[in-house]
């Protein structure tokens, strides 16, 4: 992984300023409670040139954006580029953010759109990475995971991708827009792939929750 697709050399990683890094070093990653008026308050403060508020928004959503990017691209450098592009896009259009707690879906939709574009820009097929760390699993989960790996490996690449994009939360409309195909085609492909996966899991006796 990591060398399978062309980079986009034209992408500039802007470096135009920074908040106080000391304020970030102690901030844990991952979803956490947003204080000070919630997201709407943070957005308003960030729009008022409050860099700490922007840092808070990024910190709150970074891990989820990272996970989506990584899942869709399977490549750490590419995922990092998408994370950065996502927050740059969100930052530039922050004044357009939907009110009333719609920031998270807006950020994730932006991330998925950029990741889908990135996947589409890579030449040839983009294989779905089937390797996952298996540490910390009890025997039952390990067996189910092995069944799942076998079932996914038995699918075609297009079927695996359809399942991955659905799992990553990409709507049929988002995928259709990125691919230039009707959303109904995407839905039909997903349904077929997921039905096949379930059959394979049933035949192996695994995959249950």
């Amino acid at each position: 992984m990591g060398e399978r697709g062309p980079q986009k050399p034209g992408r500039q990683m802007g470096c135009m300023g920074a908040p106080d890094p000391s304020a970030l070093s102690a901030a844990p990653l991952g979803p956490r409670m947003v204080h000070d008026g919630g997201h709407d308050g943070l957005v308003a403060r960030a729009l008022g040139a409050d860099e700490a508020a922007w840092a808070e928004i990024v910190a709150h959503h970074l891990e989820e954006v990272w996970s989506s990017s990584w899942a869709l691209l399977g490549d750490a450098p590419a995922a990092e580029r998408i994370v950065e592009d996502t927050f740059r896009t969100v930052g530039e259009r922050l004044s357009e953010v939907p009110p009333d707690g719609r920031l998270r879906p807006w950020i994730l939709a932006t991330c998925r759109r950029l990741a889908l574009e990135e996947r589409g820009s890579w030449a040839g097929d983009v294989p779905v990475d089937l390797t996952r760390p298996a540490c910390g699993l009890d025997e039952g989960r390990w067996v189910r995971r092995a069944d799942l790996e076998r079932a996914l490996a038995a699918l075609g690449e297009d079927e695996r991708e359809a399942i991955l994009l659905a799992a990553a939360g990409c709507t049929a409309e988002e995928v259709a827009g990125a691919r230039g195909v009707p959303a109904a085609t995407v839905r039909a492909g997903r349904a077929s792939a997921r039905a096949k996966l379930l059959l394979l899991l049933d035949s192996s006796g695994g995959g249950g929750g």
């Binding site: 802007g14 300023g17 922007w54 990584w70 990092e80 659905a166 997921r194 995959g207």
Partner: protein
């Protein structure tokens, strides 16, 4: 008879939504009671969890992203 037909239609609708990866909002009672749709949803959720497992982002990514994006967001004078 019409109740049975309604039940089957609801089952077909939920199963189609599950397979197409569409939200099944409002169908929780059916998912909880249907011996086919409930386990199907659980299996698909486990598949999704597995596919979405990601390594932790590298230390410093948060700082780097904030440094590289804050000025774009927070420079009021650049805003149209």
């Amino acid at each position: 008879m019409s109740e049975l037909r309604e039940l089957l239609e609801r089952h077909d609708r939920v199963m189609r939504l599950l397979l197409e990866g569409e939200p099944v909002l409002g169908q929780e009672p059916h998912l909880a009671g249907c011996p086919v749709c409930g386990p199907t949803a659980a299996k698909l959720a486990e598949v999704a969890r597995w596919l979405l497992e990601a390594p932790r982002p590298r230390p410093g990514l948060l700082r780097d992203v904030v440094e590289r994006t804050a000025a774009r967001c927070c420079s009021a004078e650049e805003r149209p």
